[in-house]
Amino acid sequence: MIEVRQLTKSYAVGDRQVPVLKGIDLDVDDGELVAFMGSSGSGKSTLLNVLGLLDRHDGGTYRLGGELVEGLTEARSAELRNRWIGFVFQSFHLLPFKTAAENVALPLTYRRMPRKERVQRALAGLERVGLADWADHLPNQLSGGQKQRVAIARALVTEPRLVLADEPTGALDSTTSLEIMDLLREVNEAGNTMVVVTHEPEIAERCDRTIRLRDGLIERDP
């Protein structure tokens, strides 16, 4: 699913280029559940952004599903993100003025899918995360765990092959965190490749494989 070779990335800070990723080699197979761990500044979020086509790498190669990712226009990467990748964020990023169902259906609007089908799929997605009865609620009527479930349903509604979760439990209490992690595992077991960025060992423990990053390099990849 993911094949990364000698990936580098640096950011301009003032008139200086600060390297963030210094040559990453990484393979993630179909159906894997991988955790990225590392202290802040280790490059784990940048790596996730590059993998998620939200950011471009400077050097090395990145193949996603066998396709070389290089020189994509913004429009093309948006299309690929929509087709291939589901995102789960630490602070959920639900649109506050849309109901749970509308939030879940949002990615489908960028596919020119008929409204009826979108609603159908969104409701099915909410059912999958156990929130069928909350479809018409606005985000501020939901608990943190419920919000993240809605966000997970949104990530899955496009049937992506890769789910990227950036600190998905970072804003939740420990009990809820474990519940969410169990849900992500379930999703993974249903066939989705998944990468989770976390700094919580209990979360990483529940993944198949934990990759540790440090100073822009993979420190340990068992």
């Binding site: 939200l54 913004e74 948006a78 993100r81 929509n82 003025f97 949002l106 990615p107 960028y110 600190e167």
Partner: protein
């Protein structure tokens, strides 16, 4: 499409006060534009109306008093036109249709038919007078040279006069009947109408020669009037000055005496008014478009604020697969929708206001039949939509360049 509309309406409705105020500024702009243009047309119509019964290429000369000594004559001499002046002016180049006017004392006379009697304005003129006021002879004829040379006692009646004196009679029946005018019987030879309104048809015309006999006027002429064809304003002024010098010479008046004659050049007045109208229209457009522009800048501003507020939302949408083109289109569409709906509302309100004025405010000297220029308003609408797109462009560009990573960064 309905999805798009839903999104747009949602966006606008999310900040009802802000959207309303912004929309109001645009609506006010188009409203003002339409109303100003409508009133401008009303003013023009009213002035044209006041001019319309007179030949706009005519020059009227009244006699006055001298203020310069000349050839031994004292200052303050009263100038009096005489019939001979008409002959002197007649042959001058540039003078097209020429007439004098002689007014009986009080300018009015009692007209009587049987037991019906009323006082009406009496104008004693030459035959060419018919060209000076847009007099429409609807039955019979106007005065002719024979009437003058034979000093015939004939009269041409205005519509009002005929309707009163010969109530219930057809126009043809009135012709040939006799009217008692200040004690002298006159035969009706024609009936006329005039676009100048009731005042202009409550008068009668009689031959200037007959009038001078009946009212003992000698060979007096009170007023000389003539048209100048299609002469320009400068040419018309030139002709007028040749005419006054000619008359001045025969009356032994200083050729440059400023008060011996009063000259009213309708052509010049008309042209000046046309110029004023042009300026007025230009001014209206400048003010109107300025106001609309202020509204459009407001829309752009609001969109910018809106984009700023929605940075996270835009970032999220991009992450979920919205292309930059789609983001740009969304913002521009919102700006266009806002300006178009608001602008249209303003146009409709403006048209309604002008219609209301037209209906409820009676025609007067300053306003007559104000017309909402719907065509112009529609053009303005088109421009407005364009302006909306331009207003939306900067915010849209700002939105399109939102970096989803920055926007979604968990802080």
């Amino acid at each position: 499409m309905s999805d798009l509309l839903r999104e747009l309406v949602e966006d606008v409705v999310r900040h009802p006060l802000r959207s309303t105020l912004t929309a109001l500024s645009v609506a006010w702009g188009t409203f003002m534009l339409v109303v100003l243009l409508g009133l401008g047309t009303g003013l023009q119509n009213s002035v044209r109306w006041q001019f319309r019964d007179d030949a706009t290429n005519s020059i009227w000369i009244y006699d006055g008093e001298t203020s310069l000594p000349y050839q031994g004559h004292r200052v303050g001499r009263e100038v009096q036109f005489v019939e001979a002046d008409i002959g002197r002016v007649e042959s001058l180049p540039g003078v097209e249709h020429l007439t004098g006017r002689f007014y009986p004392p009080g300018r009015r006379a009692l007209l009587k038919v049987g037991d019906r009697a009323s006082a009406y304005g009496v104008r004693s003129v030459h035959p060419d007078h018919v060209y000076l006021e847009n007099t429409l002879v609807v039955a019979g004829r106007f005065l002719n040279p024979l009437d003058l040379s034979d000093k015939r006692k004939v009269v041409v009646l205005g519509r009002e006069v005929a309707d009163f004196l010969f109530r219930g009679q057809r126009d043809e029946q009135v012709l040939g009947q006799w009217v008692d005018l200040a004690g002298t019987p006159f035969r009706v030879v024609g009936l006329f109408e005039d676009e100048g309104g009731d005042g202009e048809v409550s008068i009668v015309y009689i031959p200037i020669t007959t009038a001078r006999t009946v009212f003992r006027g000698g060979d007096r002429v009170h007023q000389i009037m003539f048209t100048v064809g299609d002469a320009s304003v400068e040419e018309a002024n030139q002709i007028a000055s040749v005419v006054t010098r000619q008359v001045a010479q025969s009356h032994q008046i200083h050729p440059d005496d400023p008060t011996a004659f009063r000259v009213r050049n309708y052509l010049e007045q008309f042209q000046q008014l046309q110029g004023v109208f042009l300026m007025l229209e230009l001014f209206t457009w400048v003010v109107g478009i300025g106001t609309v522009l202020a509204g459009v800048v407001g829309v752009g501003n609001i969109m910018l604020v809106s984009v700023q507020e929605r940075t996270a939302e835009i970032g999220l949408r991009k992450a979920l697969g919205a292309t930059p083109g789609r983001i740009v289109a969304g913002v521009v569409r919102e700006a266009v929708l806002l300006t178009a709906v608001a602008g249209y509302t303003g146009v409709v309100a403006g048209v309604a206001a002008v219609e209301a004025i037209r209906t409820w405010v009676p025609d007067n000297d300053y306003l007559r039949n104000p017309e909402p220029e719907v065509g112009v308003a529609l053009v303005a609408m088109g421009l407005l939509v364009l302006a909306g797109a331009v207003a939306g462009f900067v915010p849209a560009w700002r939105a399109a360049t939102v970096d989803p990573i920055t926007a979604l960064r968990d802080a």
